[in-house]
């Protein structure tokens, strides 16, 4: 009697432990894992790993990227060339150390065939060496740090989102022609803010403009009053600002409150007046000019279809990140398709990926074979008031912008 009691407890214990291990190993992956466990690549599934921040400051970006990807995979029924696509998502918490652990888990336990994601550039740099030495095809779908497709370039890393340079540089010439000959720069003091504003400066001064002053408030700065008072004392034709998230909301609102909007037009990147921020910023964003590679109001047929499908699926407007996820999913699917479903050779995968080109909702895109970075249109938008709500309107297109790669 005693013995059976002991056995029962042991069995229960083993069971609980197994469940606990399974739980942590499988994490957010689906149960298809169990059947495709052996061999990974040679099975009848293509395993796509996505490292995205689902918690922390970038959580909303991670969710949008994920929703964008799922929207595309849904549209093709999660199937390419008879192969089932399995998406395994891991939360990076926007922390490079966590991300590296997640990537190793994806490689060692899940045997993924293709990696995508990374919102934070620090995360992309952190996983770069592991991806490179393990020959894991990696499609960066947000992280925009210039070096990922420059000094840190790898045969296995391709980027479909944007580079800091594309964002900043595309505004330079337009601002000189349409805003004026002198500008003031205000940008958040971190790698992305510095890279974008220096690219803007490069293009603006090359066109003949003059930067009359610069200020770099810390990232997550809570009050811009002091900076704005300084800026309002400066004589310039406009202000170029790079801020994102809650920084952008505060900066744009306070820019109006401190009376600067009437004096100097505000110029920046698409994140300054992003789709999900504008409903909060309203109506201070009116009159701002921004450079971006996609906008909600792009008039192409592809974009209208994408917007409609996204709104039907999620009941909210897509953001830049939703589009990035959607495009990344399509690039992966087209890659698998051109290989006839055989993704066992990483060199063939990256080779096939490099040849993918199509007309995305953002316009025609293709990869630069030299830098592995996407060549795409850049758009200048102006924010207007429509029925009391702000809307971005595309007023200028810079065709097929290519990152110089150094």
């Amino acid at each position: 009697m005693k013995k059976t009691w002991f056995k029962l407890v042991s069995v229960v214990l083993v069971f609980v432990m197994l469940a606990a291990c399974g739980e942590s190993a499988i994490n957010s992956s689906s149960d298809a894992d169990a059947q495709g466990g052996s061999g990974g690549a040679s099975g009848d599934t293509v395993k796509v790993g996505a490292i995205l921040p689902f918690s922390g400051v970038y959580a909303s970006l991670g969710k949008d990227l994920s929703d964008g990807m799922k929207l595309y995979f849904d549209s093709i029924n999660w199937e390419v060339e008879g192969k089932k696509i399995e998406l395994i998502e891991e939360d990076t918490e926007a922390d490079p150390q966590v991300a590296l652990r997640r990537v190793r888990k994806l490689m060692d336990q899940d045997n993924i065939d293709i990696l995508t994601g990374a919102v934070s550039t620090a995360v992309a740099y952190a996983v770069r060496d592991d991806v490179d030495s393990n020959k894991l095809p990696y499609l960066a779908s947000h992280a925009g740090g210039d070096d990922l497709t420059r000094a840190q370039r790898s045969d296995y890393i391709w980027r479909s989102s944007f580079s800091s340079w594309q964002i900043g540089h595309s505004m330079g010439e337009w601002a000189y022609k349409n805003i004026g000959k002198t500008m003031y720069i205000a940008a958040a003091d971190y790698a992305f803010g510095r890279e974008v504003s220096s690219a803007f400066k490069e293009a603006y001064t090359a066109a003949g403009g003059k930067i009359v002053g610069e200020v770099y408030p810390p990232l997550g700065n809570n009050d811009y009053a002091s900076y704005l008072t300084t800026i309002s004392g400066v004589k310039a034709d406009g202000v170029y600002a790079f801020f994102a998230g809650s920084d952008a909301v505060r900066f744009v609102q306070q820019y109006e409150q401190y009376g600067l909007k009437e004096k100097m037009p505000l110029v920046g990147s698409g994140w300054l007046v992003a789709e999900d921020l504008r409903q909060t910023i309203d109506p201070a964003a009116e009159g701002a000019f921004a450079s971006t590679f996609w906008d909600y109001n792009l008039e192409s047929k592809e974009n209208q279809e994408f917007v409609k499908a996204y709104e039907e699926a999620y009941d909210r407007r897509p953001t830049i990140e939703s589009l990035e996820g959607y495009d990344a999913a399509r690039i992966i699917a087209e890659t698998v398709k051109s290989l006839g479903g055989d993704v066992s050779d990483p060199d063939k995968v990256v080779d096939a990926m490099s040849k993918v080109s199509f007309t995305s909702p953002r316009g025609p895109i293709q990869f630069d074979q030299e830098t592995h970075h996407v060549i795409q249109n850049m758009y200048i938008t102006e924010t207007e008031l429509v029925d009391g709500k702000t809307e971005n309107k595309v007023i200028h297109t810079v065709d097929q912008v290519k990152d110089p790669g150094q």
Partner: protein
């Protein structure tokens, strides 16, 4: 010259905003001897609840300004009666751990209810305009923040120093047992003070929301600033908190103006210098060891 005057107004307004945010924390610490690390979370709840009220139910900033702090005060009441009271005899560390743990719980509750988007509260039209001094444009709201901060400071000072209630509170801090022996219900005093602290935190959240915005993790950023102010001013002194808030406001504003790259460093540098020179803070008193 004009620009210096303008920055002075900025500094004052930022400083008094810090005071409005910090005074509840300072009050609770001064009287209960509890360092309430969930203060930032109560502040955050004030802001989020005010957002929900203005965005959906009433559309009125003024209603939100009254209702949101009361809801936060009720949360504070529950926290004090259920969780904090059993820890009073356990010493500071357990209270710090408890309130810090609460901060994380509240963080998750907030992201569950309100998500991770950046939100903001629209300023009422009466305060939405702007005015010009020193040749610069200022939002009227900033001036209102200065006025509200001063009113709160005077009220707190008056209650603490000039009323019987204040006398009981101060006596309770120096000798809990004696005041109990004199027939005062010290537990009730503690609960009341904690609830008032919560009320002030919620009020701070509503007042600060149009300036600082509402976003995930806002409470931790605010908590750090509030702790800096608390340490500089001297733990548990309302007048010290007022002086420290204004000092931090001015230092941060002028350093952003003169040496923008060093602005964060200078505030913490100031704290370090004051800790070395005056370990009890500018106007600090010895905190009673119980």
């Amino acid at each position: 010259m004009d620009i210096l005057g303008a920055q002075l107004v900025n500094g004052l307004s930022y400083g008094l905003l810090l005071f409005i945010i910090t005074c509840g924390l300072s009050l609770i610490f001064g009287i209960l001897g509890v360092l309430n690390l969930a203060h930032g979370s109560l502040y955050m709840f004030g802001a989020y609840i005010a957002y929900s009220l203005t965005a959906t139910y009433t559309q009125s900033f003024w209603t939100a300004l009254i209702v949101a702090p009361i809801i936060v005060a009720l949360i504070a009441l529950v926290v004090e009666r259920v969780l904090l009271r059993p820890t009073y005899h356990l010493g500071h560390l357990s209270q710090v751990l408890l309130t810090f743990g609460l901060a994380y719980v509240f963080h998750d509750i907030a992201s569950f209810i309100w998500g991770s988007n950046v939100l903001s509260i629209t300023v009422p039209t009466a305060l939405a305009g702007s005015f010009a001094i020193f040749g610069q444009t200022f939002p009227v709201y900033r001036l209102a923040v200065i006025a509200i901060g001063l009113v709160i400071a005077i009220l707190l000072w008056f209650v603490q120093e000039k009323t019987k209630w204040g006398a009981i509170i101060r006596a309770g801090l120096s000798d809990k047992e004696m005041i109990g022996g004199l027939g005062v219900n010290i537990k009730l005093v503690f609960t009341t003070v904690f609830v008032i602290g919560g009320l002030l935190a919620g009020f701070g959240g509503v007042i600060a929301a149009p300036v600082l915005g509402i976003y995930p993790s806002m409470e931790f950023e605010t908590l750090i600033l509030a702790l800096v102010v608390l340490v500089i001013g001297g733990l548990g002194s309302i007048s010290g908190t007022l002086v420290a808030s204004i000092l931090v406001g001015l230092v941060e504003t002028f350093s952003r103006f003169l040496v923008p790259e060093l602005s964060m460093f200078l505030v913490f540098g100031l704290m370090a210098v004051i800790l070395v020179a005056k370990p009890n803070g500018l106007l600090g008193k010895q905190v009673a060891h119980s």
